[in-house]
């Protein structure tokens, strides 16, 4: 086995596998502890986003007609495409974990690479959405001044009172979500390299499981952002 130096010092027997840290009784206890820790972390992530979801709700209750009108400026086709892309990436993660559990390294690596590629597509689409808006003066902060016409849309008509509130929320929520996608890409790059090296087996795949949980949460946040910002 290809072990890291700190693991080499530990006896690699059936009773005490190399991945098992000395303060845990069994692999299962270690796995369960790691997983519960991840769920606790995910709750802090949910609470981080819930602050923004509450801000969205409060401002929407105050100016529903503005939020309804501004959503029309976000392209539901691009948002919908990104929703499908993220859902597909969640599927490939779940599939990857399935293959890790049945010791299919090729299946695991393939699905991790696919997940990484889906994350790339998501951010590329997001880049085009952002740049089209910034070009027409829809920016975060004082520079907000919609202008110009493209694809039959007169941006100047969107320069109404409280429009800035909607787009500030849009940029902050999708921006922080996009940052999470970027972090996820880093995680999957790391996990893929480890999977290629053969670090994961059905007996030990905790990092894959935890990165998968993180990625599904990023997907869930988008499942809510898409209808709230693009559709209603």
């Amino acid at each position: 086995m290809d072990l890291k130096p700190d693991e080499r010092t530990m006896a690699s027997t059936a009773e005490h596998p190399a991945h098992l840290q000395h303060h845990f009784v069994s692999s299962d206890q270690q796995f369960d502890a790691a997983k519960m820790g991840m769920w606790l972390f995910l709750i802090t992530e949910i609470l981080l986003f819930s602050g923004m979801f509450v801000a969205y709700t409060v401002y929407r209750v105050w100016h529903p007609e503005v939020f309804d009108g501004m959503a029309a400026l976000l392209d539901w086709r691009l948002g919908g495409l990104n929703t499908l892309v993220l859902l597909a990436s969640s599927f490939t993660v779940a599939l990857g974990i399935h293959y890790a559990q049945v010791d299919n390294r090729k299946g695991l690596v393939t699905n991790l690479v696919l997940t990484f590629l889906f994350a790339c597509i998501f951010l590329v689409v997001k880049y085009f959405e952002y740049s089209a808006k910034i070009e027409h003066g829809i920016v975060l902060g004082d520079g907000f001044a919609p202008h110009g016409v493209s694809h039959g849309v007169d941006y100047a008509t969107y320069d109404v009172m409280f429009a800035q509130q909607f787009f500030s929320i849009y940029y902050v929520m999708t921006g922080i979500h996009g940052f999470h996608v970027l972090v996820g890409m880093g995680l999957f790059a790391w996990i893929t390299v480890r999977a290629v090296k053969g670090h994961f087996t059905s007996a030990y795949y905790t990092p894959v499981e935890l990165c998968g949980l993180y990625w599904h949460l990023v997907d869930i946040i988008w499942i809510f952002l898409f209808p709230l910002l693009y559709l209603i």
Binding site: I43, S50, V61, S90, F91, A94, H216, I232
Partner: protein, 133 residues
Amino acid sequence: MSQHAEHHITPIKTLVQVIVALFALTVLTVVTSRMDLGALDVPLALAIALTKGALVVSVFMALKYDNKVNAVVFGVGALFVVVFLVFTLFDTAFRGDLSSTTKGTIMEQEAAEEAILEREPDASALQFNRSNE
């Protein structure tokens, strides 16, 4: 390894069923939002999003098959999000005087406006004043 025998392995067939359902729900939420359903628009979009989220949490994140303590962690977290949202709305949704800069409350102002409307016009104001002729 026998230690991991009890780890739940979600069958590929289940995963495929869930992703098909998620895609179908995404199409459904886009189609229904393009139609004008009036007051139903927002609740329907939220219901579909909640269903999708529940599918991801229960099957993809395997909370359905997992140690129950993780479901408790998630449930309590979700409960506090609801508390956060509802208790904030108790305040913000019932203010109504956000743009008001006067000292009185909205209710006092409305009462004052009503009093003006209901006041009997002064008899002298209705009479043509002849004293200037």
